[in-house]
Amino acid sequence: MELGIFNNTYSYLSEAFEKEHLKERSFESQSLLAKRAEAFQLFNLKGFPSVKNEDWRFTNLNKVFKEDYQFRKQEPAFSSSTGTIPGLKACKIVLVNGKVSPELSDPLPEGVSFLSTEAALAEEAYSGRIGAIAVQGENAILGFNTAFFKDFYVLHVRAKKLIETPIHISHHFTGNTEAALIAYRLLVLAEELSESTLIETFHSDLQAPVFLSYVSEFSLAESAVLHTHWVNSASEDLHLVHHREVEQFRNSIFNNSNLSLGNAAFIRNNLNCRLKGSGTETNLLGSYVVNGSQHVDNHTIVDHQKPNSNSMELYKGIMLDKSHAVFNGKIFVQIDAQKTNAFQKNNNILLSDQATINSKPQLEIFADDVKCSHGSTVGQFDEGAMFYLRTRGISEEAAKRMLIQAFVAEVHSKINISALRDYVSQLLQTKLERDNLIIA
């Protein structure tokens, strides 16, 4: 019990589950309702995880719960369509506060279907997989989402389809009244021999805080290829706990990039990849540039369960002001997973004495014929590079900006969609221009 946070939001949720929430969900199947009840029981018992929980040791959710959150009774109006990526040719799906907005969304190419809540839940093939990939176990925050999610989306890529146009899910958050809770989830099914690209971006124009619980479950069938990009450019008032669980079967390839470049006050990303087939490939990229009192926490797990899999992970981060960044990367190599190659790197630059970085790369290896390594560094810019730029008459501030761009370019340059790459670089520049980089 002592591992939990039991605050007003918790009390509100405890009460609301049966009184309000279940009443709205009467259209759902019995099996899903049973799943929700089970998940609620876990959440009710454990509450939100506190820092006494090893996985939340450096990330204090109490920072988020300065306000008491409630689900909104009424959705605020939304009209403007921000968050377009200039020059990007993509099929756009717009979610506003977790609700799909059909009029803002594009039609999808053949071979891909996108279903939203009622249609998705009506099909047992989809609703039955809720919580089957992201198994809740003892994870109370996952339980919270399963119990309370309001919307459920499915992106289904059919077998042997090559989808050339990227699918762009644009998440918007708006509202200016009370502190709001939002909870929804996404299921992505990539059938065998398919190849597709999913871009997710986060935007907000909030005047009041939002606590968002977003769970996405990915299943990559045999020889499926999926590229995903996750770009967060939301404003301060967004507090996000994102859990992504990926299962990969034989010879599938999963490429993910996770970029936290906005000003959201609190971001927690869990990215767990379970490699359930042999011959899989997993590439995880990440960057975070944090300032002010931002808190960004990236937890990743790469779990090699079968032989002959390769995984590569590269996360780079820059901390300014009073920000706090956390990186925890776990690599598991299970007893059968011989011939595994697993690499992980986390580089950080700390630009302020008030900022904190907690990095915990972790290897747990139970097979002997493997090559695994990880590296983690925390440091500053190369003085030589700085000096070179200064001798060319570039101001300290401009030089720093350049070096920051160059530092994260190792990650950003690996994004293979040029319009997205430009967008990311623009985001970073805007962020850096806002800040005073010279630290007294």
Binding site: L350, L363, E364, D368, S373, H374, T377
Partner: protein, 480 residues
């Protein structure tokens, strides 16, 4: 593959060399743990009132504490009531070595630790701890000429109470963790050394620990104080007989280094590791910590861990003084069902502090070997530097190697680097050696020794050769 199997078999079959017992008249406290046990031990040792108070305070901490849950191995059930907390060879208060029980001298001779000063060639001063008490300390007079104090903890309490009182529990407070609290409550003896200002200790100081009695735990405490500008190198070795039940060893080591002092602390740990089915063996739960109190101080830990069924220890350094240096060099070899969870903590508080961590894990058989470490650079610790390298070598497909580094940095002018690798012995290396007529078993021993040499080279010379031998023997019955 068959060669590999042979190797593994011989690995598993290799017997523990120091598994004999000594038949000697013992003074053993009844089993059980309560305030009376603490009072009993204190009374046995004629301790002053303040120390008894201190023990009782620690015991109260112990009662409030729970067993930790964060380890990644299955924690055995502990019955703290089923152990005897005091066992000492009878015949006490020795004037000189001649009065030491010949059976005891024999035991230490068998272990290769001659206590007879005449025969000592190596020039190492030894404090020999047998079960709960120190039986002999050699070269005391010679050390005293330089002002170096080296004696058993019990004697130190009587002869140098001010020093003990000043430093006891300042680095590892009694409430630090459950085993430290237990140790503080029931510690029976240990070693104490004080190196005065500006003295370079003329010889290596060494403690040799031996568990002999049945159903006992060993709880010793070492306190080492190096005053300004002094230098000391300290060695520690340990063995225990083969027994079917597990024995608990919960020691505390505290090091204090003042301005510009240097302490080099080396351990070769070879407690009984249990048999190949994991039966018996010593639980080695030790709290070791040093503090670089003064500017420019240096503490260096070197450890070779081959024994114990479970090892759980993190020799740490608190870098408080500016420009102080902390080092940790470790080789941990596990086989059969051994578990080693070891690493270090480097806490950077002072400016321009530097730390270096080199950890080499070797796991064979069904064993689990973990590195768990923390590097923490605080806000005021500007210009600080850490480098960590932890490598794991796997021999056989049923063992595990794990790495849990915690890296925390709060200072923008400090640099932390960490790297870790895990792999098996490369086949091309074995092939190369085979080609030169070296058989696979010897090749493995050679490669492991080469792999660990970065750490072994940090050991004092006498210990280094012993450690190399120990590694070879632990690895392979037919080699070495």
């Amino acid at each position: 593959m068959s060669k590999d199997d042979n190797l593994l078999e011989s690995l598993a079959d290799n017997e523990y060399e120091y598994g004999f017992t000594t038949d000697i008249e013992m003074d053993v406290a009844p089993k059980g743990l309560n305030e009376d046990t603490v009072r009993f031990i204190s009374a046995k040792k004629n301790e002053p009132e303040w120390l008894l108070e201190w023990r009782l305070k620690a015991f109260r901490y112990f009662l409030q504490m729970k067993m930790p849950q964060w380890q990644n191995f299955e924690m055995p059930e502990f019955d703290f009531q089923d152990i005897s907390y005091y066992a000492a060879p009878k015949k006490k208060t020795l004037k000189s070595l001649d009065e030491v029980d010949p059976e005891l001298l024999d035991t230490f001779n068998k272990l290769g630790i001659p206590l007879d000063e005449q025969k000592l060639l190596s020039g190492v001063a030894v404090d020999a701890v047998f079960d709960s008490v120190s039986v002999a300390t050699t070269f005391r007079e010679k050390l005293a000429e330089q002002g170096v104090i080296f004696c058993s903890f019990g004697e130190a309490v009587k002869e140098h109470p001010d020093l003990v009182k000043k430093y006891l529990g300042t680095v590892v407070p009694p409430g630090d963790n459950i085993f430290a609290a237990l140790n503080a409550a029931v510690f029976s003896d240990g070693s104490f050394a004080y190196i005065p200002k500006g003295v370079r200790c003329p010889m290596e100081l060494s403690t040799y620990f031996r568990i002999n009695a049945k159903n006992t735990g060993q709880f010793e405490r070492t306190l080492l104080v190096a005053d300004e500008g002094s230098y000391v190198s300290y060695l520690e070795g340990c063995t225990a007989p083969m027994r079917d039940e597990n024995q608990l060893h919960a020691a505390v080591v505290e090091l204090v280094a003042m301005d510009n002092a240097e302490i080099k602390y080396s351990t070769v740990q070879n407690w009984y590791p249990g048999d190949k089915d994991g039966k018996g063996g010593v639980y080695n739960f030790v709290t070791k910590r040093g503090i670089c109190k003064g500017n420019g101080a240096k503490i260096s830990w070197t450890q070779v861990e081959t024994g114990s069924s479970i090892t759980w220890k993190y020799p740490s350094v608190i870098l408080k003084g500016d420009n102080s240096v902390g080092e940790f060099y470790s080789v941990a070899l596990t086989r059969n069902k051994q578990i080693a969870d070891t690493g270090t903590k480097m806490i950077h508080l002072g400016k321009n502090t530097k730390s270096r961590i080199i950890s080499k894990g070797i796991s064979a058989g069904n064993s689990q070997n973990s590195y768990r470490g923390q590097v923490s650079i605080h806000g005021n610790s500007s210009g600080s530097r850490n480098f960590t390298q932890c490598d794991s070598l796997l021999i056989g497909d049923r063992c595990g190697a794990h790495t849990f580094p915690y890296i925390e940095n709060r200072n923008s002018s400090s640099v932390v680097e960490h790297e870790a690798t895990t792999s098996k012995i490369a086949e091309d290396q074995i092939f190369y050696l085979n080609q030169r007529g070296i058989d696979t078993e010897k090749a493995v021993a050679l490669i492991v020794n080469g792999y660990a040499s970065e750490v072994l080279n940090k050991l004092p010379m006498e210990f280094a050769s012993e450690a190399r031998k120990l590694l070879a023997i632990s690895l392979d019955g037919s080699v070495g």
